[in-house]
């Protein structure tokens, strides 16, 4: 079922692009661009929903709830839900598009791996995925997996005379683009946001690029190329929605700034509470 509905159509689409341009690296780039474009309505909805959620966390009501029930997590959750209901915002609405995209992203990923058949069992499986009405096995195979200096079916390394090991240039690019992508699409922490969630985000921004870099280092360069294009397209899509925070890339004394903001917010909130009868 999964193969029939997701993997096989994706493989055929990828190979169809390849059959038009004759280059697997180019096919991966076009394939990623087109699929991300098709998924854009979902991405746009996700961006919009996250924006709405982000705005709520900056609102006075939200901050008051945080301050008032800071020692009662359950109460905070109840009050937040009330607030969301009043403002007609569903916290799930920012997750749902991501969840809907997940099977497609997994499908893309698996299609890419299977299309990069570099050994007999993989090729046997690949020949069984191909729609004979759309593609001709004898014209298609073997795939030209060379792209720039890379073999898309092998992990990429650049060997420099004098060095006994290869430099994983593409894996380094994956780490950099994943870091930039995750940094610039993350909104700056809202005033009053708790330290734990800010710390989680920071850790995510460090570990995720390292994880992706490790995958790019160990797996075939075709997948690494897919990661790079995916990251660049993601930045582009967020930029198109005006939700890119380039300032996040600049070094800043974060702790101090956060402390100051928190102090100010606490003062304001205390004043507001004091004014209430």
């Amino acid at each position: 079922m999964w193969d029939t509905l997701i993997i096989t159509p994706f493989i055929n689409f990828l190979l169809w692009i390849y059959s038009l341009i004759g280059n697997f690296g180019g096919a991966i780039i076009l394939f990623t661009l087109v699929t991300r474009l098709v998924l854009y309505p979902l991405t746009a909805r996700q961006i919009k929903s996250s924006q709405a959620m982000q705005e709520v966390t900056k609102s006075k009501r939200y901050l008051e709830i945080q301050e008032k029930y800071k020692n009662d997590r359950e109460k905070i959750a109840q009050e937040q839900m009330k607030l969301y209901q009043e403002l007609k915002i569903s916290p799930l609405s920012s997750c749902l598009p991501t969840l809907l995209q997940l099977p497609i992203i997994f499908g893309l990923y698996q299609a890419l791996i299977q299309a990069l058949a570099s050994a007999p069992i993989d090729m046997l499986k690949l020949t069984r995925h191909i729609y004979p009405a759309l593609l001709n096995v004898s014209d298609l195979l073997p795939l030209n997996s060379k792209f720039l200096w890379m073999d898309m079916g092998m992990p990429e390394r650049v060997f420099i005379p004098g060095l006994s090991f290869g430099i994983p240039v593409l894996a380094i690019i994956v780490v950099i683009t994943t870091y930039i992508s995750s940094k610039v699409i993350t909104p700056p922490p809202a005033a009053g946001a708790n330290d734990q969630s800010a710390m989680m985000t920071n850790m995510m921004n460090i570990y995720m690029p390292l994880l992706m870099g490790w995958l790019a280092w160990t797996l075939s360069s075709g997948l690494a190329l897919y990661f790079v294009v995916q990251n660049l397209v993601q930045i582009g899509q967020y930029a198109a929605s005006g939700r890119v925070y380039w300032g996040n890339l600049l070094p800043k004394p974060k702790q101090q700034a956060t402390k100051q903001t928190t102090k100010q917010t606490t003062k304001q909130t205390t004043k507001q509470i004091a004014k209430k009868p």
Binding site: A119, L124, V137, S138, M199, M203
Partner: protein, 349 residues
């Protein structure tokens, strides 16, 4: 402690993504076995084993402790007192046939050794997925190399003058055995994944678009080509002027070797990827569904036995026992007598 959930999620994502691809390095091909010098040599994924044919007991294994980063799948080649085994990271090793000690290694290749090496009296010809044929002397020194446009996945054959090797680039090549110079090349129109069969100056070569070709070994001219229903992954077996081989859907074909006429097609219900083997008055084939099927030379189905796993590898026999390699099965190597009765199996350790 606060970071534990985050790290767990990242670790899980890494494992999931790796799991999607790790199969590429471990189970991306089928293992191979060779019967020679009163021993069985089996490329059992992380190690090469020498086994006793009568009971399957291990004589030696190489390396002593196998590692997932070095995979052996191509059937080892025996050349007098040495066993040649290629791995999936471009290493070719010569082992002492008696004790498995290392004689020499050759590590110039940049691709996988999917196909077995060919051994002659004076040379070893190793096909590599980097698109080269490497010709070495028996001490492991490179004599020549020949480059095709794409990978070599199958064992070459020779008539003592030329080496004939088929490549994924659609070409069947004839190369001088001593110098590596190209004699001719024949475009067979599709990817070639199996070894050619050489008999009486004719090369029989199947392709993955389902065409069986007969090529003149002297000139490289195609004598006949027969289009069949599905891709051909195996070398045919020749007996009494007839070719016997399977396809990647469900059929075994019997063709007239003289002109390619289809004499019979037998439906066995599953793909036949590996080559069959001639036993007494019939030919045994392994199927993707894990069955061993015995076909009489007249095309009648004589018997079948369920072995297990998927049978993709070429069957091997010395006339007394038949070796079956299971892919993704519980028993990596199974030995049967010529009536299909199981004698022993080798669990891999």
């Amino acid at each position: 402690m606060k970071m534990l959930p985050l790290l767990s999620v990242l670790l899980l994502a890494g494992i999931l993504l790796s799991a999607c691809t790790s199969g590429a390095s471990t189970a991306s091909s089928w293992a191979g076995a060779t019967l020679a010098n009163d021993a069985i040599y089996f490329a059992g994924t992380t190690q090469v084993f020498a086994l006793r044919p009568d009971n399957g007991n291990s004589i030696w294994s190489y390396p002593e402790n196998g590692s997932a980063s070095r995979i052996f799948l191509a059937a080892p080649t025996v050349s007098t007192d040495q066993v040649i085994a290629g791995d999936y990271v471009g290493g070719l090793v010569s082992l002492n046939a008696k004790d498995g000690s290392e004689n020499w290694t050759f590590s110039e290749a940049k691709g996988k050794y999917v196909g077995s090496a060919l051994a002659t009296d004076t040379m070893i010809i190793a096909p590599n997925a980097d698109g080269n044929l490497y010709a070495l002397d028996l001490q492991g020194k490179l004599v020549w190399k020949f480059a095709a446009n794409n990978a070599f996945w199958s064992q070459p054959v020779t008539d003592s003058q030329n080496v004939y090797a088929s490549s994924l680039d659609h070409y069947l090549y004839a190369v001088d055995l001593n110098t590596g110079e190209q004699f001719w090349k024949a475009d067979l129109g599709a990817t070639l994944v199996s070894s050619p069969l050489l008999d009486s100056g004719v090369l029989y070569q199947g392709s993955i678009d389902g065409v069986m070709n007969a090529v003149d070994a002297a000139t490289g001219k195609i004598k006949w080509a027969q289009k069949l229903d599905a891709g051909i992954w195996a070398t045919p077996v020749l007996s009494n002027g007839k070719l016997y081989f399977g396809d990647q859907k469900t059929k075994i074909y019997i063709l007239d070797a003289a002109n390619g006429t289809i004499e019979q097609s037998i439906d066995v219900g599953a793909a036949v990827i590996g080559s069959g083997v001639l036993i007494n008055d019939g030919i045994a084939f392994g199927t993707e569904s894990g069955d061993l099927v015995m076909i009489g030379l007249d095309g009648r189905k004589l018997w079948s036995r369920t072995i297990g796993g998927m049978i993709y590898s070429n069957l091997v026999s010395n006339g007394t026992i038949v070796l079956v390699v299971e892919t993704q099965g519980d028993r990596p190597l199974v030995a049967l007598d010529t009536n299909g009765t199981e004698i022993w199996y080798f669990a891999g350790k």
